[in-house]
Symmetry: C2
Subunit: 251 residues, 2 copies
């Protein structure tokens, strides 16, 4: 549930975000996606509301269409994958095409790559030089771990390898405008969802500023429900929690 808080006019709304995973191997089921979960946790911590995740194929048109759909709908778009040296690394080109800007080798990216590989004692292959190609006007992400990440306006292009993705997220998030992290309370009841539905529905009607989710579970023959209550106003969250606990303890 994503009801608008009644005090939205006085409280500045949080920035929003989408994640775009470039992922043939996710779609084929060979690999489990991990970067979206990591970034979801980090965004929640800093009050940026993640609204959508998309996984598309390693396909120029599919990446470009998704970038253009998402960048107008959300404050930020974070992409994962497809910025290495091989023929299937087409994210930078697709992002440049989506913005309608040229792409070419950037001297600062080339110098940074060169320094990194020199420190490892290896020289770059021609294919690796391609990783220094970034769209015109892009800002490099201030971490270099093998492939340069960059931002074009509100689209942030990150690596797919999880350890590198995480370093880039850590470097990038502090320079984005942050919001108000929500207060989140989770309650666990050994009561089936069907018996919780009515009091929860009444509670949700009285607290339209809070998001309330209901998640059934079953373990050892017991049917139970986890309830998650979230909101920007901690006192309201606490009041709703107290009321739900009271309503269910007397049933």
């Amino acid at each position: 549930m994503t009801a608008s808080p009644p005090d939205a006019s006085v409280r500045r709304p949080n920035p929003t975000a989408a994640i775009l995973i470039i992922g043939d191997e996710i779609l084929s089921g060979r690999t489990r996606e991990a970067n979206a979960h990591h970034l979801a946790v980090e965004l929640t911590k800093v009050g940026i509301d993640l609204r959508e995740i998309r996984v598309v194929a390693d396909d120029h048109a599919a990446i470009g269409a998704a970038v253009n759909a998402l960048r107008v709908g959300y404050t930020h778009v974070f992409t994962s994958g497809g910025i290495g040296p091989t023929h299937d690394d087409i994210t930078a080109d697709a992002v440049a095409a989506a913005f309608g800007v040229p792409i070419g080798i950037r001297e600062d990216a080339r110098a940074a790559l060169s320094a990194l590989y020199a420190a490892r004692g290896v020289s770059l292959s021609e294919a690796q030089w391609r990783m220094a190609r970034v769209p015109d006007g892009a800002r490099l992400i201030e971490v270099l771990t093998g492939a340069p990440g960059f931002s074009v306006e509100n689209v942030h292009v990150l690596a797919g390898v999880p350890s590198i993705f995480q370093e880039m997220v850590a470097a990038l998030l502090p320079r984005l405008e942050q919001g108000t992290p929500r207060t989140v309370r989770e309650l666990r009841f050994e009561i089936g969802e069907g018996r919780i539905a009515a009091p929860l529905r009444a509670l949700a009607a009285d607290y339209p500023d809070l998001a309330m989710g209901s998640y059934p579970w079953a373990a050892g023959g017991v049917h139970g429900t986890n309830i998650v209550i979230k909101g920007q106003d901690a006192a309201r969250v606490d009041a709703a929690v107290a009321r739900l606990e009271g309503a269910l303890s007397t049933r």
Copy 2:
């Protein structure tokens, strides 16, 4: 990479699919998504090409917009989540609205739910009767595990609880038209991606009917690369594998 095979005129193209996860708890980072991976594996087995995964919030407008975007783009759309008895279970209503059809209690769904709960020795609450609401013209999925799943045209609405989701997938897939599973070969090289890029690019140019992916890894100070080669023609896949192995063994 998703190049069209050169023999597409003689080989019937595989059906395509998208998965839509209704998932506030995925977006907040509280929960790791698991259903998409399971379905990706099952679709790959039966030759249905999964092209996109989306995760959206538990929000009527967001679900409806995604359903309408995906159902015209792919042969099938599979949704996960939001069909239980609580106020945040809005998927059935959002799908009905997306198709512009009414929604109401269906007698066959109600009878099946009633029988299931009677077998458990419990009666249904009013909230649980709501689970028998399905869009007009929907076909029920022939498995009943607490909440009815259903199909409206090419949109298949499944539960979010993983064990129930998996039962519904097992019941549903055999009645969908299936395609030709691709032959997939994975090669592991202890060679960095930068050194594999050039021969792989040449190979991809010569085998436009095959999809080739390159996935760098690092372990114990060794930088290596996994190469995945896929296609509908097993002999072509084998030939490409042999050529790549030959090219890299002589370097």
